[in-house]
C-alpha cells in the first residue's frame, strides 16, 4: 500500500493554485478548460491525441484538483452524458473516425449529448426496448419513443440503443447508434420532475435519420457496447457526498440545539462520525478499485464493484436526511424554487429540499435498486438466479449499468 501524500502532491496543490490564480475567473470557460487540459488538470484519463490530458492514474491528485477548483468555484471537466459516457465508449468501441470527430469537441462542450436508452415500456427491462432502426441505403431510419432523457433539449447528438434485427429477440437485436438531434424526424417534449424543474424529456423519433458510419461497435452489438460504459464510470457520487457532508458541518456550526451549536450535540456528532466513516469507505474503495484496475489481484473486486452504487446512494440519502432535518422547518417547508443542484450550495435557500428530492434521480438513475440487488446477489455473492424468473432476465441483469431510471 502506498498512499503517501508525497512531495509531488504538495507541489501539485501549489501548481493548481498558481494555475487558478493565473486563469480564473475567466469569461471564456472554454478557453479556461483548454488551459486546464494543457496543464494536465482535467480529462486526465483521455489521451492527448483526442483532446484529453493523459495523466497517470492518481486519485489523490484528482482529489487535490477537485478540492482546489471547487473552493474557487472554477469549472472542472464538463459533467454529463458526453464526457462521462460517450467519450469512454468511443475510446473503447468507436471507430477512429468517430473518435476524431466527436471526442475533442465533446470535452470542450462544443458537442452536447443526450442518452436514448429507456422507453415507456422498457425501464429496468431494457432488453425489451422497441424503438427500431431500419437501413435505407447508407442511412438508418429510426422510429421510436425514448424517455427520461435529461439533455435532449440542448443536445446536438443522441446516443442510444435501437432494435435493428427484429427477428432476434431481446438484447441480441440491438445496435448502438449516434443520431444528430437537429432534424425534422425528432421531437422533444419536456418532462417535469417532482422538484418542479424540467429535468427530463421524452424524445419522439419519427423517420429520424443517421448515416451508417455512426454505428458504434457494429450492428447487433449494441448490448455489449452499452455494457462497456460501466467500466469507465466516473465516481462523481463520492465527491458529491463529501460536499453534502461539508454543507452539513457548516450548517451545524450555525444552528442551535439546546442553546449550543448543533455541532456540539452528542447525537449529531455520532451521526457525523457514522456518515464520515462511509465517506471514507467510499473514497478508499474507489482507490482500491483503481489500484485493482492496474494490478488485477483483488479477489473481492467484483463484489466491491457491484455494491458501489447502492452504497453510494444509501449514503447520499442519509446525508440529505440529516441535512434537511438540521436545516429545520424553514428549509423543509420551502419549495426548492430555482435552487440548483450545486454541490457546494445545499445551504442556500431551497438547496436541501432540492437535494432531498434529487437523490431519487440519483438512486433510480442507471438501474433500479432492486435490479442492483439482484446483480449483487448473482454476480457479487454467486447466488443462483431468482426462482423461475424468465431466462431472458440473465442477460438483462448482467448489465448493472442500466435500469428503470432517468438517463
Amino acid at each position: 500500500m502506498d498512499l503517501e501524500l508525497g512531495p509531488h502532491h504538495a507541489q501539485l496543490r501549489e501548481d493548481v493554485r498558481a494555475f487558478l490564480d493565473e486563469h480564473w475567473p475567466a469569461d471564456d470557460e472554454k478557453a479556461f478548460r483548454r488551459h486546464a487540459i494543457d496543464r494536465g488538470l482535467i480529462y486526465r484519463h483521455v489521451p492527448r491525441e483526442y483532446g484529453g490530458s493523459e495523466q497517470p492514474t492518481d486519485p489523490i491528485a484528482d482529489d487535490i484538483i477537485e478540492q482546489e477548483f471547487t473552493v474557487r468555484r472554477a469549472p472542472l471537466g464538463i459533467v454529463g452524458e458526453g464526457p462521462d459516457m460517450i467519450v469512454p465508449t468511443l475510446l473503447s468501441q468507436g471507430t477512429e473516425e468517430q473518435r476524431r470527430e466527436f471526442i475533442a469537441p465533446t470535452l470542450l462542450g462544443d458537442i452536447l449529448w443526450c442518452q436514448g436508452y429507456s422507453e415507456p415500456s422498457a425501464g429496468s427491462d431494457l432488453a425489451s426496448l422497441k424503438s427500431r432502426a431500419e437501413l435505407d441505403g447508407d442511412e438508418w431510419v429510426i422510429h421510436g419513443h425514448k424517455v427520461w432523457n435529461t439533455g435532449a433539449r440542448n443536445a446536438h447528438w443522441m446516443f442510444g440503443l435501437f432494435r435493428t434485427e427484429p427477428e432476434i429477440p431481446r438484447h441480441g437485436g440491438l445496435t448502438f447508434l449516434l443520431i444528430p438531434m437537429d432534424q425534422s424526424g425528432i421531437e422533444v417534449q419536456p418532462i417535469k420532475a417532482m422538484t418542479g424543474h424540467q429535468e427530463f424529456n421524452e424524445v419522439f423519433l419519427e423517420g429520424a435519420r443517421t448515416p451508417v458510419r455512426y454505428t458504434v461497435g457494429g450492428r447487433g452489438n449494441g448490448w455489449a457496447v452499452s455494457r462497456s460504459l460501466l467500466v469507465h464510470e466516473r465516481n462523481l457520487m463520492g465527491f458529491r457526498s463529501q460536499q453534502l457532508f461539508n454543507n452539513i458541518v457548516d450548517r451545524a456550526r450555525d444552528t442551535t440545539i439546546d442553546a449550543g451549536p448543533a455541532l456540539e450535540d452528542g447525537a449529531l456528532r455520532r451521526t457525523l462520525v457514522d456518515l464520515e466513516a462511509d465517506l471514507l469507505a467510499a473514497r478508499y474503495s474507489r482507490y482500491r478499485a483503481l489500484s485493482n484496475a492496474e494490478r488485477g489481484n483483488d479477489p473481492n473486486a467484483v463484489l466491491a464493484g457491484v455494491v458501489k452504487k447502492l452504497h453510494a446512494t444509501g449514503l447520499v440519502k442519509r446525508l440529505v436526511q440529516v441535512g434537511i432535518d438540521l436545516a429545520g422547518a424553514d428549509e423543509a417547508l420551502r419549495d426548492p424554487g430555482d435552487a440548483t443542484v450545486d454541490l457546494g450550495r445545499a445551504n442556500e435557500p431551497g438547496g436541501w429540499a432540492l437535494n432531498y428530492m434529487y437523490t431519487h434521480a440519483v438512486a433510480i438513475g442507471g438501474g433500479a435498486p432492486n435490479i442492483q440487488r439482484n446483480i449483487i446477489g448473482e454476480r457479487g455473492l454467486g447466488l443462483p438466479r431468482d426462482l423461475r424468473t424468465p431466462a431472458v432476465e440473465t442477460a438483462r441483469t448482467s448489465n448493472p449499468n442500466r435500469g428503470d431510471g432517468p438517463s
Binding site: 425501464g123 417535469k192 424553514d330 423543509a332 417547508l333 419549495d335 431551497g350 434521480a361 440487488r373 426462482l387
Partner: protein, 358 residues
C-alpha cells in the same frame, strides 16, 4: 372497554373520503397546480358537512366532536391530499375555544364553525421557534409588533390567531392596518404558507391563551400525525397499484418477492402506529397526564416513518415516481410539511423525554 372506531366514525371517514375523491381527486389537484399555486379545495362542501366546526361546541354551532374525530378527518385529508385551510382553521378554532372569553367565543366561533369565516394560526417565528416560550412577537395596548413565518395562508377576510410572547395568544379579526403579508414559496402546494409582519396591527388578547397554546400544539401534533399516516398509507396504495400494472421481464413488478417484502416491511412500520395516533387523540381529551406526551411521540414517530415510506415508494416506482405527473409527490411533500410544521421530530422527541415519567 372499547378501543376502536364506531360505525359512525367509519361512516364519517367514508363520507369525507368520497367528497375528496369527487371534488379534488389527485390528478385534478395536479392539473390545477399547473395554472395556479392557489388551491381552493372543497371548502364549501366540507362546510355543508360540518367539518370546519367539528370541534366547536354544539351550542356555538359546532359538532361537539372530539379530537379523535378531527384526527380521523385529518387521516382522510392526508389520504386525499386535501387542499385548503382546514389545519390552520381547526387550530384557530381550538385557540378561541380554549383561550377565549365567553364573549369572544360567542362572537367568533359560530361563523368559524359554519365555515363562513376561515381562521388560521400564526405560530412559528424564524429560526424554528415553535415553542410558545420562544415567541418574540409583542402585544402592547392591543397592538402587535414582530414577525411570524410559516402561517397557513389566511383568507383575506380571515381571522388570524397570533402567538405572542411569552406564550400567549391574540386574535386579528379580519383585515387590519399594520399587517403585511409576504409570500413564502411553500413545499406543499395544497397548503400554502405566508409570512406576516406586524407593525401595530390591532389584536385582541385571548385571556386564557397561555393554557390554550399548549393544547393547540398538542392537538396539532395529533392532527399532523394522523395526516401523515393517511399520506403514507395512500402512497403505499398508489405504489401497489402502479406496480400491479407495470410489467418488466414479462412479469408484473408487484410479483417480485423483493418488492413484496419491501412493501411488507413498510406495513410493519406503519400499521401499528394507527393505534398510536388514535390513542394520542383520544388521550388529549380523556387522559390529560398522557395526551401531550403521546401526541409528541406520535408526531415524531409517524412523521419519520411516513417520510421513509414515501421516499422508498418513489424509488419503487422507478423513474416515473420522480416525475411531476405522478401524483405521489403531493403526499410526499405533504409529509414534509407534516413533519416540519409545529417543529421537527427531534424537538418533539426531546419534549416527550422531558414529559416522561422515567
Amino acid at each position: 372497554m372499547h378501543f376502536g372506531l364506531t360505525d359512525e366514525q367509519l361512516m364519517m371517514q367514508d363520507t369525507v373520503r368520497a367528497v375528496l375523491e369527487s371534488e379534488c381527486p389527485p390528478l385534478a389537484i395536479l392539473e390545477q397546480l399547473k395554472t395556479s399555486s392557489e388551491m381552493a379545495g372543497p371548502w364549501s362542501k366540507l362546510s355543508e358537512m360540518g367539518v370546519p366546526g367539528l370541534l366547536a361546541p354544539e351550542k356555538l354551532g359546532g359538532g361537539g366532536f372530539e379530537l379523535l374525530d378531527a384526527a380521523l378527518v385529518a387521516e382522510v385529508s392526508g389520504e386525499g391530499a386535501l387542499p385548503g385551510p382546514l389545519l390552520g382553521h381547526q387550530l384557530a378554532m381550538l385557540a378561541i375555544i380554549g383561550g377565549g372569553s365567553d364573549e369572544q367565543k360567542e362572537r367568533w366561533v359560530p361563523s368559524l364553525a359554519s365555515g363562513e369565516r376561515v381562521g388560521t394560526i400564526a405560530w412559528a417565528e424564524l429560526g424554528d421557534r415553535w415553542d410558545p416560550n420562544s415567541w418574540t412577537v409583542r402585544i402592547e395596548n392591543d397592538r402587535l409588533h414582530g414577525q411570524k413565518v410559516h402561517v397557513p395562508a389566511p383568507a383575506p377576510s380571515g381571522l388570524v390567531v397570533v402567538g405572542t410572547a411569552p406564550g400567549g395568544l391574540a386574535v386579528i379579526d379580519g383585515p387590519s392596518t399594520g399587517v403585511e403579508f409576504s409570500d413564502f414559496d411553500g413545499i406543499d402546494r395544497t397548503r400554502p404558507l405566508v409570512e406576516m409582519q406586524f407593525d401595530g396591527a390591532v389584536a385582541e388578547v385571548l385571556p386564557r391563551g397561555p393554557d390554550a397554546a399548549n393544547r393547540l400544539r398538542d392537538a396539532g401534533c395529533a392532527l399532523l400525525a394522523a395526516d401523515a399516516f393517511g399520506c403514507a398509507s395512500r402512497i403505499m396504495r398508489e405504489t401497489i397499484d402502479y406496480l400491479s400494472e407495470r410489467e418488466q421481464f414479462g412479469t408484473r413488478l408487484v410479483q417480485f418477492q423483493g418488492v413484496k417484502h419491501e412493501l411488507a416491511n413498510m406495513a410493519v412500520e406503519l400499521e401499528p402506529t394507527r393505534a398510536l395516533w388514535w390513542y394520542a387523540a383520544h388521550a388529549l381529551d380523556h387522559v390529560p397526564d398522557e395526551g401531550p406526551r403521546v401526541a409528541a411521540m406520535a408526531k415524531a414517530t409517524i412523521g419519520d416513518r411516513a417520510m421513509r415510506i414515501a421516499r422508498a415508494c418513489v424509488d419503487l416506482h422507478g423513474a416515473i415516481g420522480y416525475a411531476w405527473e405522478t401524483p405521489i409527490h403531493l403526499w410526499y411533500k405533504r409529509i414534509m410539511f407534516d413533519r416540519a410544521f409545529l417543529g421537527g421530530s427531534g424537538y418533539h422527541r426531546d419534549r416527550a423525554a422531558e414529559l416522561a415519567a422515567w
